[in-house]
């Protein structure tokens, strides 16, 4: 049995009385794992605590916090989820001051599954498991090395399978806009599959994930037709690093490039699509 489960269980048990809930994963019927808020009133549920497969916990913590803004919460997070929450904090989607981070370090096997360059947490004070180094992403390198026509042919083929389920957007913790451009018929055609111009959906989304994607790969995992979508975001992340010296979710007090031109202060929504 994975030693991390025991260690994590002990940490959660310890902090459970001090918080309103600890968000983690729980095994349900048929061995299906899902996010779950462990609470002090039901400590016995910890027996079903799980750590894999990972789930989009940053979205869930946001959901809970929006309904309970004053709640003291803790969340079990992997490197990608920690980056996700940091980025959501910067975009005023989460109040990290009310959230205790419990950093779960990924194993070599998990990191390779996600082709992850940073399978470790950096902000969490409490740590479970041993941090390991990042692994290579051969798939992204393969696409990056292609010629322009090869890339075009590759993505045309991949996009032709898209059934427009919007799963990649729905699962994404960083997709929190009130008004989504992908639901605007000006940009994305409705009523036809395959889409007449699928790159409108996928490339609009890729642009919108600039300096937001934290490489959690949930989008790829939920894609019913297996499009390796995260490759876009990872290649764009390289550009963002190069142009703005910005790494998504890495440094809490570094402003994201999208917000650089704004002055400090409160902003009201314009109501326009953004």
């Amino acid at each position: 049995m994975d030693k991390r489960i025991n260690d994590l269980g002990q940490i959660i048990e310890k902090i459970l009385p001090e918080v309103d809930g600890v968000l983690g994963l729980k095994t349900g019927p048929g061995g299906i794992v899902a996010p779950h808020l462990f609470v002090k009133e039901r400590p016995e549920e910890l027996e079903l605590m799980a750590i894999w497969p990972k789930e989009p916990l940053p979205s869930v913590i946001r959901l809970i916090q929006q309904a309970h803004p004053e709640a003291k919460l803790a969340v079990v997070c992997r490197g990608c989820e920690e980056r996700g929450m940091v980025e959501m904090f910067k975009h005023a989607q989460l109040n990290l001051n009310n959230v205790t981070l419990i950093g779960l370090q990924c194993t070599q096997e998990e990191a390779e599954f996600c082709r992850c360059a940073e399978p470790f947490t950096v902000h969490a004070k409490m740590i479970v498991g041993q941090p390991i180094e990042g692994v290579a992403d051969p798939l992204t390198e393969k696409i990056a090395a292609m010629s322009q026509p090869e890339k075009l042919a590759f993505w045309k083929e991949e996009f032709s399978h898209c059934i427009k389920c919007y799963g990649c957007r729905n699962i994404c913790a960083q997709c929190f806009c009130n008004v989504c451009a992908l639901e605007d018929e000006t940009w994305v055609q409705t009523g036809h599959l395959p889409m007449g111009n699928p790159s409108m959906y996928h490339l609009v989304r890729a642009m919108h994930m600039t300096a937001k994607c934290v490489a959690c790969r949930e989008c790829e995992e939920t894609c019913p037709v297996g499009i390796p979508i995260a490759i876009h975001f990872r290649l764009i992340a390289r550009d963002v690093k190069e142009m703005f010296n910005y790494e998504t979710g890495a440094v809490i007090d570094q402003k994201p490039p999208q917000l650089l031109v704004l002055e400090e202060g409160d902003y009201e929504r314009t109501g326009l699509p953004h």
């Binding site: 729980k26 061995g31 299906i32 899902a34 789930e55 809970i64 309970h68 894609c223």
Partner: protein, 136 residues
């Protein structure tokens, strides 16, 4: 106490049998999460599955039976509605025979519910007129 949990269920739309988790917060359904490692859907969903929770609290959702009286739909009790339906079935069967009645069931029902529909058609009404909602 804050209560956030997920309830595993089967998608109500087509007959594929995809599974997802209904996210519930303080007793209300707030979203859908695909079920990774599920043997059928393997963590994926189509657009209908992703939005399968939307109708639950929809204002247009029927919460009680309606009976058309004088051309207008009016709310009624289950007792009154079921009595009316049973009475009409008996009347039509007596007047025009069992084969004047047909049953259209649905992929949105479970296997067991569909079984009951065909059993009711054959054993109670006495007809083999059983088909699928896609023929409607």
């Amino acid at each position: 106490m804050i209560e956030y949990k997920n309830i595993l269920t089967t998608c109500p739309y087509c007959g594929t049998g995809c599974a997802f988790n209904l996210q519930t917060l303080d007793g209300r359904i707030v979203g859908v999460l695909p079920a990774k490692k599920h043997v059928i859907s393997e963590g994926g969903l189509c657009i209908k599955g992703w939005n399968a929770h939307d109708f639950v609290y929809h204002k247009d959702r029927l919460t009680r039976p309606l009976i058309r009286k004088d051309g207008q739909l009016a709310g009624s009790s289950w007792e009154e509605a079921l009595t009316l339906v049973a009475g009409k079935f008996s009347q039509i069967k007596a007047e025009s025979g069992p084969d004047s009645i047909g049953f259209l069931s649905s992929a949105k029902c479970t296997n067991e519910e569909n079984y009951i529909v065909q059993k009711f058609a054959r054993a109670v009404i006495g007809t083999n007129n059983v088909d699928h909602c896609a023929r409607l």
